[in-house]
């Protein structure tokens, strides 16, 4: 047909594309190449190609495997409870009551709070000498003496997980609430006619209708929570004795101690682990977008 190709769509995308190529794709390529080098800024004379040396070292590093395991627990328990509480909150907010609009917006505030501030606020709450959590638990008779929650190996990790749950509830609630509002009322009316009870309606109508929202939101949260550094770093910096060091935090700490080759290697392994989640997410998003047109 000899159709002339319209250059405009490409020109319009070009600025965004160029920026993103510079700040994302070049760094990714650099990270890959760094991972094949001994690249420790404290030993600049030894910088050079070492093949799979970093990978071999990382894979035999017990701290790496420990941080992988920590990441799995951090994401599994964290996102799991974010979903559960977010779902409950969404169901509660979906009812009609006075002041619902205001309640709905203020309950979302944790979601827009900076990670550093979240870390600081909770660090103060968990404080072992003047912390309010200790005071509350003492008054309720649950503990007898103040507990330094973030300094103890057994309480630090649950404490940081509780914090990330707190942070993630609003986003789940927001997405699920939007999903709830899209369920046609007639479905429930029909169920009422059939004499279904509340639990049946929840499992037969509500949850199946929300399948897509839950799926997409969960994948997105898994990616965000695995990548999150600021909350843990500002609570414990990964300590005590690496008890709260997830893989992202480990990479960040290694980067700070200037062993860039090692850090790059671990970050690539993290990206590879997450890519499986990302692929599923992207597929689903695309199907939705095409279906929506």
């Amino acid at each position: 047909m000899g159709r002339k190709r319209n250059p405009w769509p490409y020109l319009l995308v070009a600025p965004a594309l160029l920026t993103v190529l510079t700040v994302v794709f070049i760094p990714v390529v650099n990270a890959v190449s760094m991972s094949f080098q001994s690249y420790d800024l404290r030993r600049p004379s030894r910088i050079g190609f070492i093949g799979l040396g970093n990978y071999a070292e990382v894979l035999s590093d017990p701290l790496f495997w420990q941080s992988v395991w920590k990441t799995v627990v951090w994401v599994g328990v964290g996102v799991g409870f974010q979903f559960l509480f977010g779902f409950i909150l969404a169901l509660l907010l979906n009812r009609r009551f006075f002041g619902r609009g205001i309640v709905r917006s203020i309950s979302l505030i944790p979601w827009v709070t900076p990670g550093v501030l979240i870390g600081l606020m909770w660090r103060w709450i968990y404080d072992g000498s003047y912390g309010v959590l200790n005071d509350i638990l003492l008054r309720l008779g649950i503990i007898r003496d103040y507990v330094p929650f973030l300094a103890r190996g057994d309480t630090a990790f649950p404490a940081v997980i509780l914090t990330i749950i707190w942070q993630g509830i609003p986003f789940f609630a927001l997405m699920i609430l939007a999903g709830l509002q899209g369920i046609p009322e007639e479905l429930y009316d029909a169920a009422d006619v059939d004499g279904a009870n509340g639990v049946q309606k929840l499992f037969r109508i509500t949850i199946p209708s929300l399948r897509n929202v839950i799926f997409v939101t969960t994948l997105l949260r898994i990616i965000w929570v695995s990548n999150s550094v600021d909350v843990i770093f500002n609570l414990t910096e990964g300590g005590p004795a690496y008890a709260t060091q997830t893989l992202s935090v480990y990479v960040f700490n290694k980067g700070n101690s200037l062993n860039l080759g090692y850090a790059a290697t671990m970050s690539i392994l993290l990206a590879l682990m997450l890519s499986s989640v990302a692929v599923v997410y992207l597929r689903r998003i695309f199907r939705n977008q095409e279906a929506a047109r």
Binding site: V24, A31, I109, P114, V116, W124, N227
Partner: protein, 278 residues
């Protein structure tokens, strides 16, 4: 029917649940605020007080007089505002292209932008540091602005594309029939209609840049530190001064809350549209 005792009990339970949930979600903010207006003596006293016996704004004044908190606030404002401007401009062009043209490679490019959000921050952090140093913009606001586009551009494109897809193309086509070219039609017709959505997207970009810590701690020095980095540094420099820290926290969160309340309706529509449809 709704007035049955069982129904009332059910209502009561759900209100109690909601109240409990809200206390959990909001208590940390309340606590931060209360801490920020307590005098030093009460902060580290024997008993924990839930409302200050004597409220004072001393921590706030000290934050500005002793620590010069105005500087990180200005830095954050510059970085966040510039990031917003840059991201919105380039994303709007790209989103318009994706939503209005069918072209070869469209799907590929859209995937490319979406995948950007998936890369771990820590993966980009180290090579970006080297790139910024080579470009000579390390320790300047440009480093952060550029770094923040890694996540703000993909996200803005995604949001704006969704909003634009909801606007019928016939809107501009009508204007183009009347003799306007595409650019004129875009500026005169699409832009005004889309404005609330652009504002919402901008608010989101502003909030995420204002809040960001991981890049900021690596790419800034003393002179151009942003608020999150300064807050963290307050711990290192002064020992732990919870009065000033919490005061800084309150100052950080107030503008974010304002923006969020202002933009939330459109923002939530945009965020949820992709997931809810389909």
């Amino acid at each position: 029917m709704k007035r049955s005792p069982a129904g009332a009990a059910k209502n009561l339970v759900s209100y109690l649940l909601l109240a409990g949930m809200l206390v959990f979600l909001l208590f940390p903010f309340y606590w931060t605020f209360v801490t920020s207006i307590k005098p030093e003596s009460e902060l580290y006293g024997k008993t924990v007080t839930y409302w200050p016996r004597k409220a004072t704004f001393e921590s706030y004044t000290r934050l500005f007089s002793d620590y010069n908190f105005i500087r990180p606030m200005t830095n954050s404002l510059i970085v966040a505002a510039s990031t917003t401007l840059v991201s919105l401009t380039v994303s709007l062009l790209a989103a318009y292209s994706f939503s209005r043209f069918q072209f070869k490679g469209r799907k590929f490019l859209m995937t490319l932008f979406l995948t950007n959000n998936m890369f771990p921050t820590v993966l980009l952090l180290i090579p970006l540091y080297a790139i910024m140093r080579k470009l000579g913009i390390l320790y300047t606001p440009f480093a952060l602005i550029l770094a923040y586009t890694t996540f703000t551009i993909p996200f803005s494109i995604w949001l704006l594309n969704g909003y634009l897809a909801d606007l019928p193309p016939s809107l501009e086509e009508a204007a183009m029939v009347d003799g306007a070219n595409r650019a004129q039609a875009f500026v005169r017709i699409v832009l005004p209609v889309l404005m609330p959505c652009i504002v919402a997207t901008g608010a989101y970009v502003f909030m995420t840049s204002w809040n960001e810590y991981t890049f900021a701690v690596m790419f800034t020095n003393e002179a151009n530190r942003t608020i999150p980095v300064s807050l963290k540094n307050l711990i290192g420099q002064l020992g732990v001064e919870w009065g000033m820290l919490t005061a800084g926290g309150i100052i950080t969160i107030v503008p974010v809350c304002f923006m969020f309340f202002f933009a939330q309706k459109r923002l939530i529509e945009g965020l949820t549209a992709g997931a809810v449809k389909g």
